[in-house]
Symmetry: C2
Subunit: 129 residues, 2 copies
DNA sequence: GCTTAATGTTTACAGGCGTAGTCGAATTGC
DNA sequence: GCAATTCGACTACGCCTGTAAACATTAAGC
């Protein structure tokens, strides 16, 4: 029996996430393009970026399509899914799955801008009706 | 503000966090007590727990006080500081430091219970006045 | 047809993490 | 006093991650 696409979260590391961000911003891209884009923030060599891409492909977070002699990379995992998963992981692990305490902590740290408050208020109103 | 240099966050790993939780719940405790408590969730051997405690001491997240032949361990890092730091890290890394998108994601995932909403609403009201 | 430049694959290596065994000193029971 | 127990410290080891070099292959240019 095949274990088809069984439960395989296969965590994406922080460095890998940086690569995903540039693919989410635009895709598909070649390895060289990804490298150029990602190097605006982190100073990585091309081999490093290629390693990260390979690992992402192995984790099935990125798909490759051959384009002549090279590959074009595009994200398989959506940004929304990634963000959702990570957020939930944090909330589960640290706050027993409840978002309110998280919110309280952010508020306490003054990590909430006036805009944030307004936006959240608006979201709340929407959810409430 | 007498906090000149020596600002070294020194990330606490997930396994270490489990140990911190039992120390936050009650302290001080001996290594054996910590092990008993933590083993209700994760099935670790005593040496494993001791290693984690040592690493936490090295990271200055836990303090030791000798008690006869053994040590009593207590948290140095407060739970609030830890949660605050982790939350902020996530928000910074994934949502450009803005809490509203995080909130939106949690809402979308239906990770917000009715109680959460009520609590957050109350917090908002408090922050707003 | 060769050399070269581009590109993916393999291999490497240090540091952190999860997990745990062993060692040596201190303590307690007899 | 001496053996058994109890601790913390040291050591170990495999996996993952960050970072990158070396290698292989292939398309392109001369």
């Amino acid at each position: 029996m095949a274990r088809p696409d069984d439960e395989r979260p296969d965590r994406i590391s922080e460095a890998e996430h940086a690569v995903m961000e540039v693919l989410w911003a635009r895709s598909p891209q070649t390895a060289a393009e990804v490298c150029a884009a990602v190097c605006e923030e982190r100073d990585w060599s091309l081999p490093t970026v290629k390693t990260l891409l390979s690992r992402l492909v192995a984790k099935q977070a990125v798909a490759t399509r051959p384009d002549g002699r090279r590959f074009l990379y595009s994200p398989l995992l959506s940004r929304a899914d990634y963000l959702g998963g990570e957020s939930r992981r944090l909330v589960d692990r640290l706050f027993g799955g409840r978002a309110a305490p998280l919110f309280a902590h952010l508020a306490q740290e003054e990590a909430l801008s006036e805009d944030d408050l307004a936006e959240i208020e608006a979201l709340l109103k929407e959810l409430r009706q």
